[in-house]
Each structure stands twice: as C-alpha cells, then as structure tokens.
C-alpha cells in the first residue's frame, strides 16, 4: 500500500505481523515497541536517549511533514531503535527543514516502516502491553517465524540498566540556554548525572540560572562533591530504574548531605529508589505530549510531555521521607515527589518539553530557587 519502496516487516511477540515499506536504513532491529501520541516532534523523540532499547510507533498518521533540522536533536544520535508510522510525508514543507525525515533516518541508521495500520498496532499494545518486536527493513526474503523467534528471544527491559549505553563518556560543561541564550554571570554550579540527558533539559537549566557540568552516570559521590556544586540534577534515561543500582546509593548520600536535587523521569525514579521506594513496569507506559499533571497543593494542572514505562509505586513511600506532590490526572499514577525534610524533588514527566508543552517549565525556576536556598521544593 505504500508509494513504492523496499518492503519491511514488523513482527510482534504476540505473533502479529505487519508488512509495509522501508522508509529508513536497511537492516534488522529487535526492541520493545511503544506508542507515542505526540502529533509533532518526531526528531526530538528519535534522538531522546530514554528510547534506547525501544522502537517508537507514532500514532499521528502523517509524519515527516516539516523535515528535520540539526538543532532539533536531543542528543548526538538517534536512540530509538526503530520507527513505525502510517505515512511518511511525500514532500517536506518548512523553512526550517534541512533534510527530509527519510534522509535523516538513513543517515542515522534507523530502521523504519510506513504503510501499516498504526492504530491497530496501538490498540494491541494498549490491550496486551508494550511488546517485544523485530523490524526487518529491505532485507529480501525474511519469514515471520524467523523474526518472531528473535522478538521472543529479546530480554525484557525489566531489570535492565541501559544508562551505560547512553551516558557521556567523560564530563563536559553545557553553556547554551533556550533560544541560544547565554548563561547568567552568576550562574550556580550544577552537577548533572547523565543517565541519558536531553539537550533541552540542559538548555532549560542554563536559562534558569545554572552552569551545568554533565558527569557520567557512574560518577561517585566524592567526585561530585569535589566539584562543590550548588545543586544536583538527575537526568532522564532509558531502561529499568531499579537496575541502575550503583546510582541509588550515590544519590542518597548526596541528597542527605543537603545538596538541593531535582530529578526528571528516570532521575525522579532513582531519587525514589534511593530512599527505599519501589518502582514497577507499567503496562504500556505514558508516551505523549498531552497528559495532565495535577499539583496537589495548588490544585493546578499542567499539560506535560510524558515518556516513561516505569513508575514509582505510591504504596512503597511510607517511611521513605518522600511524599507525592503531583499526580497524573488520567490514571492517578505518581507524577511528582519531594523529600519532606531535604531539598530534593522529582517529576516523572518532562518539564523541558522538546517535544511537548512548556507548561511545567517553571519547575526549573523552582529548582533554581531551591538551589539558592530560597524556598522548599514543593511550594508554588
């Protein structure tokens, strides 16, 4: 049904298979398939390190409309293993486009297909949960059985620490703010533990008044302290947060030392785990740009970008010193936490957007106030 082009085949672990057209690089990948309901921002999604180990299905059917542009990258490569869409735009139309999505996918080595009924697959993922899957693109004759066996052989994301794949190899400083803004002269020194950090987080931190130094995920507490930061940031990232065990102790030690701390997504989960809470794997997670987040104290709702397959179990918070500050208003899952006694807080969602709404951006300013010793974490 595609407009011509080499064939591609997607097989899910439940045995279902979908034939379409290859619109990216040739090859074969195995991954956990998740769906994302954002209607814009495909390039930001593909380059988000949190997608390592996952393939993304975009539920909006017309993708690639405005092409790709280097500055939309959220990291230096594509981390999503594969892309599944209903229809790749036959023409790119935007002043911003530097290349088409098809060219981008080939250049970045991402396998992708279009021409499949993405809603049918989405409903399947909703009913049966995220599925392990294999996508074969432009490989000649492949059988469903062959791919199915590979999909079923893929280990689950549960129990897997993928941060080692995505973290920086060596420390670096980040100096670019939003819209190219330069750092403030009195910027506060900040350590970012990089579990797969997105560039837009770093930009937001700079614009909020921080001077971020990004450190590898395995950095020790002493190494962090040696830099004498004013605050600590725990980044987003892929995989199972419970498996990132080495970070739990480091984070606890640093937070208990009184260092103001903010965690996003995986960073938020690690903060919870560090104080003894538990996380669990969700059926199909939250991936989209339209989820309501209710702040309990103010009763206000922010529409926020979400991208997570694991969540903090609220029943495990007793005795951890952590309390829930935000709920996902769709399903009442934990969307934000803070420590009752220590200057630390985290959110499950993505205030940095990229892609997504800017509603919760104020959290970066709140973090900055916290780091300056101004106000406690959860007061609006």
């Amino acid at each position: 049904m595609a407009r011509g082009g080499p064939p591609a085949l997607l097989v899910l672990e439940d045995g279902s298979s979908f034939r379409g057209r290859s619109i990216g690089a040739p090859g074969r990948r195995a991954f956990e398939l998740v769906f994302n309901t954002s209607m814009t921002g495909y390039q930001e999604i593909l380059t988000d390190p949190s997608y390592a180990g996952q393939g993304v299905l975009l539920t909006y059917p017309q993708i690639g409309n405005y092409g790709c542009r280097a500055e939309f990258d959220e990291s230096d490569r594509c981390w999503a293993e594969a892309l599944v869409v209903r229809e790749l735009a036959p023409r790119v139309s935007s002043w911003a486009a530097e290349e088409s999505l098809g060219e981008f996918l080939v250049r970045r080595g991402v396998v992708a297909l279009d021409g499949v009924d993405t809603r049918a697959i989405t409903l399947r993922l909703r009913e049966r949960g995220a599925q392990r899957a294999v996508l074969s693109a432009d490989e000649g004759d492949v059988t469903v059985e062959e791919l199915l066996a590979e999909a079923r052989a893929l280990p689950s994301l549960e129990g897997r620490d993928l941060t080692g794949r995505v973290t920086c190899r060596s420390p670096y400083d980040w100096t670019e703010g939003l819209d190219g803004e330069a750092p403030a002269a009195d910027a506060l020194p900040l350590v970012v533990l990089d579990f797969g950090v997105k560039r837009n987080i770093l930009r937001n931190l700079v614009s909020a008044g921080f001077a971020p130094r990004v450190l590898p995920a395995t950095t020790s507490a002493e190494e962090v302290r040696a830099l004498r930061p004013a605050a600590l940031f725990l980044s987003n990232g892929p995989g199972d947060p419970a498996a990132v065990a080495h970070a739990h102790g480091v984070v606890r030690e640093l937070v208990e030392s009184g260092l103001p701390t903010f965690g996003i997504c995986l960073g938020h989960q690690i903060l919870a785990l560090a104080f003894g809470a538990r996380t669990f794997k969700m059926k199909f997670g939250h991936h989209g740009a339209n989820h309501p987040v209710l702040e309990e104290v103010s009763g206000r709702v922010d529409i926020a970008a979400h991208n997570h397959g694991f969540a903090v179990d609220p029943d495990s918070l007793a005795g951890t010193g952590l309390e829930v500050t935000h709920l996902n208003a769709n399903d009442d899952t934990v969307a934000g936490l803070r420590h009752v006694a220590l200057p630390a807080f985290g959110v499950q969602y993505h205030p940095e957007a990229g892609p997504g709404p800017h509603d919760p951006r104020h959290l970066f300013r709140r973090f900055h106030e916290l780091a300056r010793g101004g106000v406690p974490a959860a007061t609006p």
């Binding site: 049904m1 407009r3 769906f35 309901t37 954002s38 209607m39 814009t40 921002g41 930001e44 539920t59 909006y60 059917p61 017309q62 409309n65 405005y66 542009r69 939309f72 209903r86 229809e87 735009a89 036959p90 023409r91 790119v92 139309s93 935007s94 002043w95 911003a96 009924d117 993405t118 809603r119 049918a120 989405t122 409903l123 909703r126 989209g288 740009a289 339209n290 989820h291 309501p292 209710l294 009763g299 206000r300 709702v301 529409i303 208003a329 769709n330 399903d331 957007a353 990229g354 892609p355 997504g356 709404p357 800017h358 509603d359």
Partner: protein
C-alpha cells in the same frame, strides 16, 4: 472548586436566524450548554428568535422565549424573569453584542444580572481592534501593522501609513461583514466606507496584508484556576486572505515544527490571560510567514464559534458543554471526558486521523455577485470528513460536499494554461478543482504553490491523487487486483471515481470491489489516539482498518440519514427533524444511528444518537454502513433532498426504508403521475406541462398562457425556478439557465398571479391523518415558500376554504399512503384551491409549526414510522387560539455586493425567525424586528408599486399618513396617490436623473420601502432599490399584502409593546404535548 451556589437562574442568549457566519453551530453549542446547566440544577431562561433550533424546544430550557434577540426584548425578558446571571458566549456575535448593549445601557446592573463566562471588559478588549492591538503589544506578540480609523479621513491617512494591498476589518461585526482585502484606492474607498457602516461603533482597522502567509487557528479553553488547554489546532489550506469560514481547513496543524507549534500554544494562552477570559473557550487566529516562521496574531474570539464546533466534532471534546460548566464554577480537572469516561477533561486531545473541512457556497443563487473569496465570509455551510490520511479525508470531504463531485476531480473540457493559471491564482469556490486540472496539464507543485499560496505539503498529495487517477484511466475493472483497489480506497477514491476511470458504472465498480473483498472498517473518534478505551460509538470509516471497532449491536435499530452540508433550502430545519427522530427512537428503546457529515449541527453531537457515523451522504458510504449495521429501517424523510436522493438506491440494494414508500415519493415528484393522482382525487393544479425540449416548452406555454413558472424537475429550494412573462423571456431561460432534454425535462406551470399561497404540514400513519398547521403566506404567490413570510393561523382564509384545504390534505396523505410527514403547498385564487406541490417528507416548516403549536410533528412522525399507530400517540390536532405566530425569512444580500435582492420563486434566504403575539400585527412586527428589518414607527416611507397594486396601495398609504409618516413615490405611484388625495412627494427613478431614489436610500433619508416588483416592467430599478435597501438596513416590503401586514405591525408597535411570553406559558393552557 464546586459549582457556584450563589446563582440559581441563568439567561442564555441564542444567535437568532441563520445567516452567513452564524449558523447552526450556535444551536449545537447552545443546546449543549443548556443541557449541561440544567443537569446542574440551574433554572435556564433562553431567548432565541429562531424556531428551527433544537435549543428552543420547550423541553430543553425552563423558560423559552422565541422573541427578537435585541437589547430591548432581552431587557424585557430580564425584567420579567430576573435571572441571576447571563451567559453571553454561546450565541455568536449576536449574543455577545446584545449582552454588551445590555451592560452599556445599564439593564444588567439595574436587575443585578452578572455576566458569566466573559465579562464586559474582556469582550471589549478582544473585540475592539485598538484595545486588542495594545494588549498584544504588552505581551510581546506581533500584530500585523495596522491603523484604526473612525471616518474616511482617518482611513485615508491610515492607508498612507500601511500601503496597498491592505485589509479593512470592521470592529464588532460577524464573519468579517463589511471588510475585505483591497488592492487599489478605488477598492479601498468603497470597502472602507462599507466597513465604517457595518461596524456598530463605526470603527475599522486598516491592516497590512499578510496575503499568502499560512493561517492557523487554535481552540483554547481556560478555567478559573488558570488551567489552559488547546483542544485543537487547525491549519488552513487556503492561505491568508480568505476568511477561515471560506477556507478548506485541516486538523490538526500539519506543517508546524514542534517548536513552532509550542510557540503558538504559548501565545494562545498568553492571549487568553492578557485579554482576561477567565473561563470558557476561545478561538485565536495566527498567520505564519512561510519564509521564516514569523508568527503574527490576527484576532481572537472570546466565545464559542464555528471553529469551536468544528474542533469539538474533530476531536470529540465538547467545548460548549465544558465552557458552560466552567462558567458556573467547575474546573477542567473536575469534568470527566465523556468519551473515555475515566480521564478528566483537563487534557489535550491527540488525533490519530486527519480531518478536512470544506466550505459550501451558494453563488449560483446570486448570479451578479463576484465569487472571489476574501476576508468577508460568503459560504453558507460546510462538510467535514475524517480519514486516516490526508488523501482519504480530503476526497471524502469533496464527495460529502454534494456539489456533484465524487472526489478530487477536474473539468472535462480542456482549458488554456493562462486560464488555468488565473483560476489557480484567484481564491474562489472552484479553485481546488482548477488545481486538479493544473496538475493534469503538467504544472509543477512549485508553480501551483506560487500562484495559489497553498502549501506544497498539501499540493504534493493533490498531485499524487491526480497521478493515481490518471494511471487508472483505461484500466478495466476486471484487471484491478484486490491490492490495487485497496490502495485506491485508502487514497479516498470513491467507487464512482473508479468506475468513471474504468468506463464502468458505479454499481459495477462496487460489485467488483466487494468481489475482491475490499470493504471499509470503522474507527472511533476517541480523543486520545487509542491510548484509553473509548465508550462512545462516534465512528468514521477508513480503508486502513484491519480490525473494526465498536461492533454493531443486536438491538432493534434505525438509521437516520442527515442533510449533509447546509445550503440555501436545506439547513437547520432538517437537522431539527433528524435530532427529533433520534430522540424519539431512543425513547422507544430503539437504537438510533445517525449518519451525517455536517460539523455545525446538533445531529452530529455524539450525545444525540446511540451511534454516530460521521460520513459523507453518498450511496456508497451509506450502503457500507447499512451492510455493517443491518438496520431494521432507514429514515430518509427528515434530512431534506440529500437522503431522498439515496432512497431508490438503498431500496434497490435491499435496505428497508421506513415510512412512506419510495413509490409514493415518486408519485408526488413525477409530474405525470402527480397529475394522475390529483385527477383521481378531484383536485386541481395550475395548468402545466412537461417539456423535453425547448420547442415543447414554448408550445406548452402557448397553450396555458403567460406568465408561466418554469423550473427543472427534481429540485429543492426552487433552484433555477423562474416566472417568465413572455415568449422571449422563456426562450432566453431555456437557452441560458436550463436546458430541457429527455433526461432532464423542464416543468412549465401556469403562474397564478395575485393568488394566496398556503402551506400545510401533516403526519399520517396510512389510515389516519393529523394536521399540524395551515400556514398562510403573507406575500402573494410567486415567492418561494422558504422566502415568504407566513402566519399560523390563517388570517384571510374563510372557514370553508380552510375545511377544503384540510380535506384535500387528508385525501392526498391517504391516497399516497403517507407514513410519517407530508407537506402540501396550495394556491388560493379567488375561492379556487390549487395544489402546487406535495412533498411526502419533512418540510422546512416542521420546526416552526412545532414552536407555534406545541405539537412536535417530527417526533410523532418518527414514532409512526417505527410502527406506532397515530391513534396511540395521544396527539390532537392543534387549534391556535389567542395568538399568532409569524415566520419571516433572513437574507444574506448584504454579503454579496452586486447581488440583486429581489424575491422570486428561487429561494435565497438562509434562515428564519418567528414572532409570536396575541395580535397578528404585533407578531408580524416582532418577526420583522427579529429578522433585522425593524418596522419604523415614524419617518418617511418610499412607495413604488406596479400598476396592478396602484389601487390597493392607497388605503395603505392613507393609514401611514394618518400615523404621521411622510411619503415619497416615483412618478406613477405619486400620480395614483395624488389622485386619491394622499399627500406625497415625487422622487426621480434611477434613470430620471439625480437626486433619485437610491440617493435617498444611501443617505438613509428613508425609513421604510414599499416596492412591489412582480411585474416585468420596472424590474431593473426595483432590483437596485431593494439591493441598496438591504445594504443600508432599511426594511423593504415587496408585496401589497405584506404592506397591509406591515401597517398592522406599525400600528401595533405604536400602540403598545406587545407581550413577552415564553413558549411554556403559551402552551400550558392548551395542554400541549411535551417535546421529547
């Protein structure tokens, strides 16, 4: 925050008659809001002059006033009802302006009425061009550079600063009335003057033209806790320069990067906050420079709108309902999403389909008006289509438009490249088809984009469709594989398109497709792109679907076919009937399945039926639904001509049609069978004949004598119907307007001059008949019934004649075996009764009859069609005692500069109003006022009548003079009046030199015009007079009988204010039937 407990009753203002720019979307929003507020226990007082609305059903609000939506009448309702609050944001610009006036004249303060939803200052800030511009500057958003002017001098100075081309935007007007894009000084002078006149505060904005920029709309909601959400983004396929109501639009936005989209989203919220819209929905329009993404704010509407209705239908997020709840204190997180049932309303819908909206125009009704589109809205309706891809949605929308296109196609006649380039460059209704031809002729996407300003992203798809269609030509159906057919269907090609390319019939193409096993699947509109389970069967078809959703039930079920896009002659009245059908069926425990493609309507609210299929009303699309649902019956009587046209095809495919048989419909519509029917019943019709050629037509006219009424067979709304007075005119008609042929015969009827027309609506079950009402037209025969003013009960017909009419109607209904509704049109000449037309279906007057009498004909008819005998319904024939209900039309002439504003057998009104009072005169005066033709109580009257009326006009004029009016008349009438000793001044006709009559009209030195034109003679002058009158807003009476009525109305207005009474009060004493 819970519901407010400090207010108990709320006044809701409706939008009045359907006019261009303000159509049934406000019935949809008002109905939703009233239902939502009553659910919350508020007492609702409603005012709307439009009887064809669902919102004015007496069961909906607690007190329903069908009274003029003017500050004066609404003030009297406030005085009587003492509501605590006023919700002004649901009745379009009319509701907003009326509320503003009530604030300004102190009525709201005097009676302690609080404006909820939007406060006075907020509306002012959003609507006043200058205040809005300053507000945008404060929050750092760009406006197109502009200047404000309050007179021509200021306007000319502004032009110097802004330059040409520029846009003239009048403040506080509806749908851009009076404004436009101008390219030269001459156009500027004309448009600026018109704009100053159109604006109630004489204010225009002269704005830099952003012609060719991309245009977007954002539908925003905000609650009192400052939670904001975007419900939907919309991208216009037609670039800036064409009013968004006249543009093809697509949801969601397609060509914005995430950064651009978020910037627009942030700007929308900033605007809501700066303007101060505390609760409710608003619409914000933006322009984006395609060269660099520069963002400019165009305007915002602090109320629900046509776009919010579209957004609600496109996403499943009911904006008006939620806006009402927010206005009484709820916040978005406290309201549940109706579709998912578990998630809150505080979210942003995610779409996994593409929505395309197409405007529907009526330029064929206004032959002298330019069809170039600009910033002043001119479309009369719209259709929406949902598909999984742009291709699919676009082609579905084109066939849903019902303009004879079966998809994206062009003209068969070849055109020169120059001609094509011109057509592609000029925004006009048919431009999209010229784009088709341009690609067919080998033009590139770049060339077409440059000429049209349409984004290449859209054009590439359109070009692909042209190429796909071309590749199909010359193929045979047999040679098509299942895969190929599936691919064509996924690109939205209809069976008819495939058939034409392959030289086959639609039936053959359909058979081949089914042979290959290619069938559509159905998907839910679920607000969340599949993330959560949906519980509401709001469905669209797609050939994408591997798995169907919302499988059919095994309940007893009936499919109701709606009317598709609104057009002149087929609009809200039919939607009213469809909605009643759904409600009646549900009450009987029968599953009601609605099929319609009109996003403005109440019928396409997913709350109304058990299942909603948002689909084009073509045989292919409807059959697919019937095959899936296997309904116990289909109702084709209620949606106007659209479903009737499908009846035979459905019957032939074995689909059971409910109610009156297709054969009976044919007996009423086929002229020779109709004549047989009347002869059998001993009824008379005007002498007539059916002509299959021009010669036959001339021969028939010769036989029956001139004047004759000519028209093509099978039309609604009097399309191309004309009265011709002599052979030469008839020959011209047959040459220019309508070609008579064996397949398309022309009807020639003797035209009954000076006859009174009568309409009757009734219901029947095959053995019994119930008359709803006998309606007497105020104008003489010759004016389309949809354009004429009429009254219940009759005012001049004798008892004997009324009995004869009743008997004839009963005989017709029984002979035809009518099961359901029937409308008969009669003419009475002297004491002779002629049958003009019988329509065994819902008529335009059904809702008016229901509001006048309290008898819900459409509901009763539905129950009969579903099998209940009339005798079991407990309904009685209504007898109106102690009140008159006058229906009057509203016209769109002021939208069409250059269009002739004369009335005739071709319908041209877009809507209607009802005036009710204890006396006919006051009811007539109220109807005139409600239709924005308020009768004067003093001043100067211009009189010019045809010879036949010169005697009859004398007493009318004498009455006017007695009431203190002064008269001016053109020569002939002046003489007649002078001879009768009626004081009168003489004025020049247009060709007699200046100053002449239109000068007086332009200067507004006239307060009322009486001008009877039906004769052939002075037609040109008459047309100009009436056109100028409409432009100047001066009431214009065009028949002697209407002049008599107007005098009664004026007298009534001079002697008192009439009564302001709710329908509930009117109906209570006679024990009316509750409207379900």
């Amino acid at each position: 925050m819970p519901r407010r407990s400090d207010i108990q009753s709320i006044l809701v203002i409706g939008s009045g008659p359907i006019v261009i720019g303000q159509a049934c979307e406000f019935d949809y929003s008002g109905t939703q809001a009233v239902k939502a507020l009553r659910e919350e226990g508020f007492r609702i007082v409603l005012v709307n002059s439009n009887p064809a609305t669902i919102m004015t059903d007496p069961g909906l609000a607690d007190a329903t006033y069908v009274e003029p939506v003017t500050p004066e009448f609404v003030a009297r309702i406030i005085e009587k009802e003492r509501p605590d609050a006023l919700l002004p944001t649901l009745g379009g610009q009319t509701g907003l302006n009326t509320a503003m006036a009530l604030y300004e004249n102190g009525v709201l303060e005097e009676f302690g009425v609080e404006m909820i939803g939007a406060r006075y200052e907020v509306i002012r800030k959003a609507e006043d061009r200058d205040e809005f511009r300053q507000a945008m500057e404060r929050i750092g958003l760009k406006n197109a550079s502009s200047e404000i002017a309050h007179d021509m001098e200021q306007a000319r100075a502004a032009l110097e600063a802004i330059g040409l081309p520029c846009v003239v935007r009048p403040a506080f007007t509806l749908g851009g009335t009076g404004g436009g894009v101008v390219f030269n000084r001459e156009e500027f002078e004309e448009t600026a003057q018109r704009g100053l006149r159109s604006s109630p505060i004489s204010e225009i904005l002269i704005e830099k033209s952003l012609l060719g920029w991309k245009e977007y709309e954002m539908e925003v909601m905000r609650d009192r806790k400052d939670n904001c959400v975007i419900v939907c983004s919309i991208e216009n396929l037609d670039p800036m320069g064409v009013h968004t109501g006249d543009s093809i639009t697509v949801a969601p936005a397609q060509t914005l990067t995430d950064r651009e989209y978020q910037r627009m989203r942030d700007a929308s919220f900033a605007i809501m906050r700066e303007i101060g819209v505390e609760t409710g929905g608003s619409n914000v329009q933006f322009a984006v420079n395609p060269e660099d993404g520069e963002l400019v704010v165009i305007e915002m509407n602090p109320r629900v709108s046509r776009s919010s209705a579209l957004a609600s239908k496109a996403t499943g997020f009911p904006i008006a309902k939620f806006a009402a709840k927010l206005a009484v204190g709820y916040t978005l997180d406290e309201i549940r999403n109706d579709i998912t049932r578990e998630t809150p309303a505080c979210f942003e819908p995610a779409l996994d389909y593409v929505v395309v909206k197409m405007p529907r125009f009526a330029f064929e009704k206004f032959p002298n008006a330019s069809d170039t589109l600009g910033t002043q809205m001119k479309s009369v309706g719209e259709t929406m289509a949902i598909g999984r891809t742009f291709d699919e949605a676009f082609q579905k929308a084109l066939r849903g438009l019902e303009v004879g296109r079966t998809g994206f196609e062009g003209k068969t006649t070849p055109r020169s490249r120059d001609e094509l380039m011109e057509l592609v460059a000029r925004p006009a209704p048919g431009r999209i088809f010229a784009v088709h031809d341009a690609f067919r002729e080998g033009m590139s996407v770049e060339e077409v984009a440059k000429l049209s300003g349409i984004d290449p992203w859209f054009l590439e798809f359109l070009k692909g469709l042209v190429e796909t269609g071309r590749a199909l030509e010359g193929r045979t159906l047999e040679s098509l594989t299942a895969e190929e057919v599936l691919e064509l269907k996924r690109r939205g090609f209809s069976d008819a398109q495939v058939a034409r390319a392959c030289g086959a019939t639609e039936t053959e193409a359909r058979r081949r497709r089914l042979e290959l096993g290619v069938r559509p699947g159905y998907r839910r509109v679920d607000t969340c792109a599949g993330e959560f389970e949906a519980h509401t069967p709001y469905l669209y078809s797609t050939y994408d679907a591997i798995e169907d959703e919302a499988p059919p039930t095994r309940r007893k079920k009936v499919v109701i076919l709606g009317g598709g896009p609104n057009r002149i002659g087929q609009g809200i009245e039919f939607d009213y009937c469809c909605v009643h059908a759904a409600m009646a069926l549900r009450k009987m425990g029968i599953e009601a399945i609605m099929v319609n493609s009109n996003p403005e309507t109440v019928s396409t609210d997913f709350d109304i039926s058990d299942r909603l299929y948002f689909e084009p009303l073509t045989l292919e699309d409807v059959l697919a639904i019937c095959e899936r649902e296997r309904p116990d019956g289909v109702i084709v009587q209620f949606g106007g001509q659209t479903p009737l046209n499908l009846a035979a095809g459905l019957r032939d495919a074995g689909v059971p049609i409910l109610g009156t048989s297709v054969d009976a419909i044919d007996r009423a519509e086929d002229r020779s069978r109709f004549t047989e029917l009347l002869t059998k019943l001993g009824l008379q019709q005007p002498e007539n004949g059916l002509a299959r050629s021009a010669d036959e037509a001339l021969a028939i006219a010769d036989r029956i004598g001139y004047p004759v009424l000519v028209r093509p067979s099978y039309v609604l709304g009097g399309r191309a119907m004309q009265i011709v007075y002599d052979e030469r005119d008839l020959a011209r008609y047959l040459e220019e307007a309508v070609t008579a042929s064996p397949d398309h015969p022309v009807l020639v009827d003797r035209f009954l001059e000076t006859a009174i027309e009568v309409d009757v609506d009734c219901i029947a079950d095959g053995s019994e008949v119930l008359l709803g009402a006998v309606m007497e037209h105020v104008e003489e025969a010759g004016i389309h019934s949809g354009d004429s003013t009429c009254v219940i009960p009759p005012i001049t017909l004798s008892e004997a004649l009324q009995d004869e009419i009743a008997a004839a109607t009963r005989a017709l209904a029984l002979e035809l075996g009518v099961v359901g509704l029937m409308n008969v049109q009669y003419a009475v000449q002297g004491d002779r009764l002629y049958v003009l037309e019988v329509n065994p279906r819902a008529s335009r007057t059904v809702p008016y009859v229901a509001k006048a009498t309290g008898v819900p004909l459409a509901s009763l008819a539905t129950r009969i069609m579903a099998g209940a005998p009339l005798s079991a319904l407990g309904a009685e024939e209504p007898k109106l005692v102690g009140r008159y209900a006058v229906k009057a039309p509203a016209f769109p002439f002021s939208r069409f500069a250059g269009a002739r504003a004369d009335l005739g057998p071709e319908m041209r009104s877009t809507g209607e109003v009802m005036g009710v009072d204890v006396e006919f005169g006051m009811a007539f005066a109220k109807a005139s006022e409600a239709a924005y033709r308020r009768l004067p109580t003093e001043g100067r009257v211009f009189v010019s009548v045809k010879d036949a009326d010169k005697k009859g006009i004398v007493p009318v004029c004498r009455d006017l003079v007695d009431m203190g009016f002064s008269l001016v008349a053109t020569d002939g009438t002046w003489r007649a009046l002078r001879e009768a000793d009626v004081p009168c001044e003489r004025v020049n006709k247009v060709h007699e030199g200046r100053p002449h009559v239109t000068d007086l009209i332009k200067d507004r030195a006239i307060d009322l015009i009486v001008n009877t034109p039906l004769g052939k003679v002075t037609r040109h002058d008459d047309g100009m007079i009436r056109t100028e009158a409409y432009q100047a807003g001066i009431p214009c009476i065009t028949t002697l009988s209407a002049a008599v009525a107007a005098v009664q109305g004026i007298r009534a207005q001079r002697s008192g204010r009439g009564t302001v009474r709710s329908l509930q009060e009117y109906f209570a004493p006679i024990g009316a039937h509750p409207v379900s």
